[in-house]
């Protein structure tokens, strides 16, 4: 990346604008899609198809009164949303949008910056972004905010481990840690010789590293605090979690950070597992598909597909309980990632062409045996057995006993005025009225 400074500035501003527009679009998109899934129209008043709804909401939030609690720690209270937003935007700097293009007579890549270990920048940004959440909760000076912040931070840190392990397998397979280079590495197909027929599969890592892809997608939803893992700000259970005391623009910036994180994580997943900006069909179909500005279409198409996936999850799945969520993270995702990483290492060493044939068979076969043994001996749940004798205690479970004495309704005890009694229709008489007649 040897761009002149003006080009870097233009790229930086463009990345910022694209992110903000994508956030505005995503909020509208989410509300519309969820509305369609729930058979209602959704926002359709402001602008064509209600497209300007999120802009209007954002302006409304910005002009609201900015309240700061008296017990708040002033500096940290203001710094927390700034940290959250800054980290969210910085992470997007290393996402490659496309190949080298020619702008204003300059050969440049459609990527703000790239270096040897650029994927680590995204992980580092999400690690520092947790500070925004934790400090927001602490500096509010409210117990609810503090507890919400602890919940949120514990969630993000737990799922960061599974996310990191999934990313590790990509490093392992490609032996690269730069986003641009990983996209290029996926362009090479995977030649397979099945029963004499030469088939070239796409080299995208979601095929080669299918378990990592699944783990990454689950961890990514947990990492961005989205449904069904939106425990930190579960609107029907908590007020707003760590952001309870925030209002106006500061509250809006937490929202902005959440949606930018969603877009960044989708873009990272596309970059690592779905071939980045490469066209989703063989190069021979349309030779010009991966040149010039065309890859922008494929890239943003894939990112939008992921955003739809996020919305789909939200529209479909109920929220997990906190202990179920933690169990999924620590007892399923992390161990599976670790075992998969070991197996992948064994397979890669085993299938190395430098080895003797027996060595190759030993390593690859050993890894396969480990996987099969895990599948075979995985502790499964006890199958349900019918109880030997029916549960007759207290009239069965969980029904109240049949001989339960229902206490008389206090309303029935009250003497009703004649006018009220006559107002009750005879056909629709309720049990209380019966009690009255008796």
């Amino acid at each position: 990346m040897n761009d002149p400074i003006w080009l870097m500035l233009v790229k930086g501003v463009l990345v910022f604008v694209v992110l903000v527009l994508l956030v505005l679009f995503t909020i509208w998109f989410e509300r519309r899609v969820v509305a369609i899934m729930q058979v209602r129209p959704g926002p359709n008043r402001n602008g064509p198809f209600g497209l300007l709804q999120s802009l209007a909401d954002g302006l409304k939030l910005a002009f609201k009164e900015d309240v700061m609690p008296r017990t708040a720690d002033r500096v940290v209270f203001i710094a927390a949303p700034v940290i959250a937003v800054a980290c969210a935007f910085t992470a997007f700097a290393v996402i490659p949008f496309g190949p080298e293009v020619n702008v204003f007579g300059m050969e440049t890549e459609l990527q703000l910056t790239d270096f040897e270990v650029s994927v680590l920048l995204i992980l580092a940004c999400s690690a520092v972004g947790v500070y925004g959440i934790v400090l927001a909760g602490w500096s509010s000076g409210s117990t609810y905010s503090l507890l919400g912040a602890l919940r949120a931070a514990a969630q993000v840190i737990s799922y960061e481990i599974a996310l990191g392990l999934a990313v590790l397998t990509v490093f392992f397979q490609s032996q690269l840690m730069s986003t641009g280079a990983i996209v290029e590495a996926q362009a090479q197909g995977l030649p397979l010789n099945i029963a004499g027929a030469e088939i070239t599969l796409p080299g995208w890592y979601f095929l080669v590293l299918a378990p990592s892809f699944v783990i990454f997608v689950i961890a990514m939803v947990g990492e961005t605090n989205r449904a069904p893992f939106d425990l930190p700000e579960a609107e029907s259970e908590l007020v707003a979690g760590f952001a309870t005391e925030y209002s106006s623009l500061k509250y809006a910036s937490f929202f902005l950070a959440e949606y930018v994180n969603m877009v960044t994580m989708s873009a990272l997943c596309v970059t690592l597992f779905l071939g980045g900006w490469a066209a989703p069909f063989p190069n021979s179909w349309w030779p010009g598909a991966n040149e010039g500005f065309m890859p922008l279409v494929w890239f943003f198409g894939k990112v939008l597909a992921f955003l739809f996936f996020y919305v789909w999850l939200r529209g479909t799945l109920p929220r997990l309980r906190y202990d179920q969520f933690m169990r999924l993270g620590w007892k399923v995702l992390v161990p599976v990632s670790l075992v998969w990483l070991m197996v992948l290492a064994a397979m890669n060493i085993g299938l190395d062409t430098d080895n003797e044939l027996p060595t190759r068979i030993a390593f690859a076969g050993g890894a396969a045996i480990v996987v099969m043994a895990l599948i075979f001996f995985w502790p499964s749940r006890k199958p349900y057995e019918d109880p030997a004798e029916p549960d007759t205690g207290l009239g069965g479970f969980p029904v109240p006993p049949l001989d339960l004495a229902v206490p008389p309704n206090p309303r029935a005890l009250r003497e009703l005025e004649p006018a009220n009694t006559s107002a009750v229709p005879i056909n629709g008489s309720r049990p209380t009225d019966k009690g009255e007649e008796e």
Binding site: D73, A127, I157, L394, N409
Partner: protein, 259 residues
Amino acid sequence: MIDLAQTVAQNASMGESVFFWILAPIALGGAMGLVLARSAIHAALMLAITMMCLAVFYIMQSAPFLGFVQIMVYTGAIMMLFLFVLMLFGRDSKDSMFETLRGQRLLAVLLGIGLAALLASGLARAVSGMTIAADPRWATGAQTNVEAIAEALFSTYLFPFEVVSGVLTVAAVGALMFAHVAKKGGHRGQREHSRERFAPGNYPGPKPGPGVFATSDSTATPALRPDGSIEPASLSEYVPPRQLTAAESAPKHTEGRDA
């Protein structure tokens, strides 16, 4: 040390020195703030700032892997654990400025300066006369920064690396053992809970809060069950129940009107 510093200063590029002179005061300020901050959380945040500056220094000196790992591990994980613990202490806990031992503060300052001087002079003697090696990747034959680190970690320093990871695992498991409290009694499932709930003598519904179903909103008013009886759980055991006598509850004519 001085020779080395001069050579470094001569070899540094323009951008590197600009960033150094911006970040070095911030890093030092963070370190000073760590010592001087009264609130534990502020001290921890200052330390985080210093760590971030150090990470940027690593990146500037063509060690990007080390820099980002510094951010992820130290700033992201370890400092976050510190914050977790400190946050639970409560916000009002501040360092006391009261000197328990006489002359302790002066002595601490003197000893601190002495320690700093000792470390600085030791370091200066160790690195004086050294020359800056060429790019480290040429020395080891590795292509990239990451490869060079991997080569050092998994060949030369493999045994210490494994020992350290073993020690850390033992420490983590030990901490878990100390913090773990075994549950007393067996696990009670949904069935047991439901049985208990519907057992004779127990009210199966949720307990109403004080004032619910009552004639008044006051917390002094006992809660009534849906059947009109008083819910005993809503009566405070510390407040003695008191019934007003007829004279007490009669109107007092305080408004100057006759009844």
